[in-house]
Symmetry: none
DNA sequence: CATGAATGAGTTTTCATTCAT
DNA sequence: AATGAATGAAAACTCATTCAT
């Protein structure tokens, strides 16, 4: 948060405010506060429950969603949810994790696989976008709500996230080294640009008419060739 | 006492305030028991208050932020906030509106101004990114929290948003027509790609080392020329 | 899970509850995100809860009563009340409805039953006064607090109220037509006079020594014969 | 409040409730807590201010009315009210007192004046109803809101109220003694009946078409002669 | 005479969570 | 496997009142 410092009497009070912020201090994760990474009770209906949570978190945001909302989607009582997960926060972590994990696995296969940088980047882009089709809610929640995870979970989930970034960046850097991509490229900014572009899809997919297929192709071409017409290419610098 | 007219961005939000006010609806039947009075809501410290709200909404999300958080930042009591705005929702609308309006005005000047499509698109991109510098919180809130506005406000705010989209799309379409941009471009998807890329900046600006200036230039070049090295251009199709 | 049907007086009030529920209106656009569930509100202790509400509303008035007051009477936590009713306003509607409904039913049986106008009016008067004995709080609340109901509920409750008025008026008019009552009577004013007299009882019953029985008899005689001594009747015109 | 005792765990908690009731313990009036009986600051606009308070208290009830409501009616700021009265409670006392005082004076003149019991009762009834015409709000507030006065004020105001009752009762008793009224009359109940009838007028006057004049006459006749037709008088006992 | 700014103390309502069954 | 009943803790919002100007 890049905010200007406050002036006047607010300053000291603001410091007090920050103290309050740590709020409910969901431990800092040391003794694995709460959810832990693996051994979670799992039951027959668990996937269904988590689907519902994803749907509701995606629609209303984590803080805007209530456990009642989730129960409503499932047609069960609110209290019954606690048979499936120990807390709303843990539900969020499960949803976020599901939103990024296999996703990362597919990306890794592509990034470390064969093909030119162009081919691999195209593949990554498609792989990045395609889960929106069948797990859009999970992806949306991962992208926009993981910031609300307690520190421990956030770190765990953040790892996947940074790993994906690195895969994109590695491929791009490889392309530059190989002479496929422009030598003057800022590979970090290019990575962020591509991810921004791709991640935004989850925000409007379904409202726009384009299929995931078309979006993937169009975006890949756009990233590789740019907007400017080929015969105009030489004069393209602004 | 015929309520002074409102100036600036507060105007439409204040309208929303009135929607909420007027006692729960079961007055005594007399047509608005009480003389005219137009609960205006602009005071000396209003801008400061809204800055604080933007900061807190940006950091915690609308639903995750409490009015106490905002008061803490200001060093005033929580109840005192209600002297400045009639509800948290209205505060959100004011923040969102401020997050997009001038922004739209600058964009319009550029989009309808002179220059080639390339020049104008570059200008738009820069104009789109630059408010992040001095109004990052407002922009972030507008981008990620406007979905939580009540229907009336959301419609009002959504208008700005769609207007900006249209400006981008018009310039791109113009570029295609003028032969500057590729004829096979899907202008809608290109617009969404560019906006996705640009909007994402508010999510990481400050964490990455690049300046707004550099980001604008790099993104513009990226969009126009693509990743692929020029001498490789002919073979760029995947 | 298609919500069990409600029985008894809770039904219409629960309808009002639904009016208030359904999140502030800005859902996510999907038509009622969530499976059917019909927040019914009838639990084992509901009658006890409503008794307490009636008692507190009667003693302090709707606006002067706090939900904490009600909880105190019950010996439960204030928040627990909301397990039984969805809002204080709905609690008021339930109390008001209970304050008038059976009451109306008894009155209807008498008004449309057999007997001379005098007999039926006497019956009505007694029936109107007697609920004060075992439901005094409900009656008092109905009489003095229904004005604070939200418009929807007020209309629903008001219907009972006007129906009772009509029953009295019909009997009086019948008496005039039958020649039992004075031909020069303003039946509307007579109705209002009798109701005023009878309704006032709830305000002082318990503070005065008279029994409901005695009050009913005395009032009936008073209404029928007036104050003036019989042998003085001929000169009674003021 | 004639309520059944609570059973179960509620009982002891209910006792605690009663303790809370004394609430804000507006002293018991000993050192003349607050308003006092006479020496109140009075200013040019004071009557206007109290009119507005009466209007608002009548429409919304004391607890339902806010000082903002009163200020709205006057077109001044809420804080400005405190120039005219020291607290909302005091405003209520002023309104209540005005609602009954001259009213009592007129009644006393009539009750202790000349004329038959019938004439004097008719006069009282008219005098009791007529202030509704030009001070309806004051009367309504006196009748329905005086219960919310702090103990000291309530006692002061209650005195007027009981005095009026006594005037009615004295006249009726006189009529019985003089043989004008039925010897079998319960004078206390008759008094309460008449007052109930008359007080109710403030609740519907203005909604019904009848003038104060007509109401007074009709009610007087009704009380004196009853409903039953004269030639039917002998058989009127139910 | 009146107001702008502020606040302390509530008040209703929400909600995640618990627990006996 | 699920639920009814309840609660603690907070949340937004209200409101009478104060006070310097």
């Amino acid at each position: 948060m890049k905010s200007r410092p406050l002036r006047g009497p607010a300053a000291s009070a603001a410091r007090a405010a920050l103290e309050r912020k740590r709020r409910k201090g969901h431990g800092d994760g040391r003794p694995d506060a709460g959810a832990g990474n693996g051994r979670r009770r799992t039951h027959r209906r668990s996937p269904e429950i988590i689907d519902a949570a994803a749907r509701v978190f995606a629609a209303r945001g984590y803080h805007g969603a209530t456990t009642q909302d989730i129960a409503d989607v499932l047609g069960i009582r609110q209290a019954s949810l606690y048979y499936y997960f120990p807390s709303k926060e843990v539900a969020l972590e499960i949803v976020c994790t599901r939103g990024v994990e296999d996703f990362f696995k597919a990306a890794r296969a592509i990034a470390t696989g064969p093909g030119s940088a162009r081919e691999r980047l195209t593949g990554l882009l498609r792989a990045h976008i395609s889960p929106i089709l069948d797990r859009g809610d999970f992806v949306r929640v991962f992208l926009t709500q993981r910031q609300f995870l307690p520190p421990g979970s956030r770190r765990r989930v953040g790892k996947w996230s940074r790993a994906v970034e690195r895969l994109f960046e590695a491929v791009i850097r490889g392309g530059v080294r190989a002479g496929e991509f422009r030598a003057d490229l800022d590979t970090r900014l290019a990575t962020l640009a591509i991810l921004g572009m791709a991640n935004a899809v989850s925000g409007w997919y379904g409202k726009e008419k384009a299929s995931i297929e078309r979006i993937g192709n169009e975006f890949a071409t756009l990233m590789l060739k740019g907007l400017v017409a080929a015969e105009d290419g030489g004069r393209a610098a602004q």
